[in-house]
Symmetry: C2
Amino acid sequence: MERTDWQRLSLNQITTERWSLREAAEGCVRAGISWIGLWRHKVQETGLAESKRILRDTGLKVSSLCRGGMFPAATAAERDRRLDDNRRAVEESAELGTDVLVLVCGPAPDKNIAEARKQVEEAIERLAPFAASHGVKLGIEPLHPMYAAERSVVNTLAQAAAMAERFDPAQVGVDVFHVWWDPDLFGQIERLKGRIFGFHVSDWPVPVPDLLMGRCMMGDGVIDIRRIREAVDAAGYDGPIEVEIFHQGIWDSPGDDVLSLMKTRFLEHV
Amino acid sequence: MERTDWQRLSLNQITTERWSLREAAEGCVRAGISWIGLWRHKVQETGLAESKRILRDTGLKVSSLCRGGMFPAATAAERDRRLDDNRRAVEESAELGTDVLVLVCGPAPDKNIAEARKQVEEAIERLAPFAASHGVKLGIEPLHPMYAAERSVVNTLAQAAAMAERFDPAQVGVDVFHVWWDPDLFGQIERLKGRIFGFHVSDWPVPVPDLLMGRCMMGDGVIDIRRIREAVDAAGYDGPIEVEIFHQGIWDSPGDDVLSLMKTRFLEHV
């Protein structure tokens, strides 16, 4: 299905990393984009009250807050501390008017990845009632397996789906960059019917220059984004679609140019 | 189970990338290592006849030949050409006295990864009888998902297992670097009982510096190698264990030092 408007387009503000929250919000308004995905460190930099004012003034809707998570740790005390931080993230999500907190679940503190995965489940189980009472969904985002050692031990849709099925209001986020390679991609998206909280797009360049900063603009890589988007649509997700790109060249470009290109590519490839 | 000898240790010659085949073979003899894993470009550089002489003179056993594969291509003619090249690789394996040809299956020529996976299956189906008639097993090696766009569209043990189950004499290679993150790792190793052709070890450093050259020496990373080795043993594999490390620092070190460290780490971590 061809796309003719930007209604579902959301700027994940990491894509314009040099912009402050105000600059990103005003950039969205200029570009006619009505959604924005926020990052906690950006909110902190601006202040929560001021961030809320900016959102109210611009009329932007918040698609999600990035990020909670980072649950596994070597000691119970440290795990409790992180859980507390996640409770703050849930509160911030509610304050900012979004019902989605994205979880990047965290790496293992040692060589025991199975134990770290258990700790993630325990943390989500403990966090879920608190999130529910704030009207916030916990969006488990499976991260690409190349981040298993440094960012998240949740690395496939199947694994995230199994957790979301156990812990209401946990849901699953689909980010094309993290999951496009999965031989069971479409089967898992179908399984997630009704449990997809968000959809992130970017692309995978060839050759990929770097692990963290390797993403590129939609259309500049090898991911069949439209096919994945149609599957996500078919699984019942009709919410905002965030463009989230970690890429030095994009970060170094003028924000207005990035948003303009992003809009074009969104119509062509998403 | 503690390890007290190096009987199963094999030097995959990419680990000592600067050594010629003769230098690597003589290095193994000096180090008391009785197995070597060869690469086709190294054999070519030395010549097949001369390579065979070196193996006979040193008495080394060949654990595998790297690599066949690279099957998907945009045209049928190009796919046929690649299949021919794989037939040559099967012949070379037999000539060199190894019964294992490692397959790195190749990337997609376009955005259609599902089609490329089908082309891999078709190629293995066509290659299998030829391999069988030469007494050579086709070792499907699932590569880490971060290589899906550039090296192989076979990215999980489950996917490789499904192929090996269909196409005799196809088997599956387990390389800890490629599969350690898999949430279903131990279930799939169990499923592969009797179908594992080889076991490769290295380690995953934190932070990982680079996609291709990111591997490190066993013990310098986060992979629980011994636990995986014990599972592979329990699945009936009792053949050579290749150390295969792409790492600039190791490539730049004197080969004898690398083999010495490799032996120590093999006892400690494998």
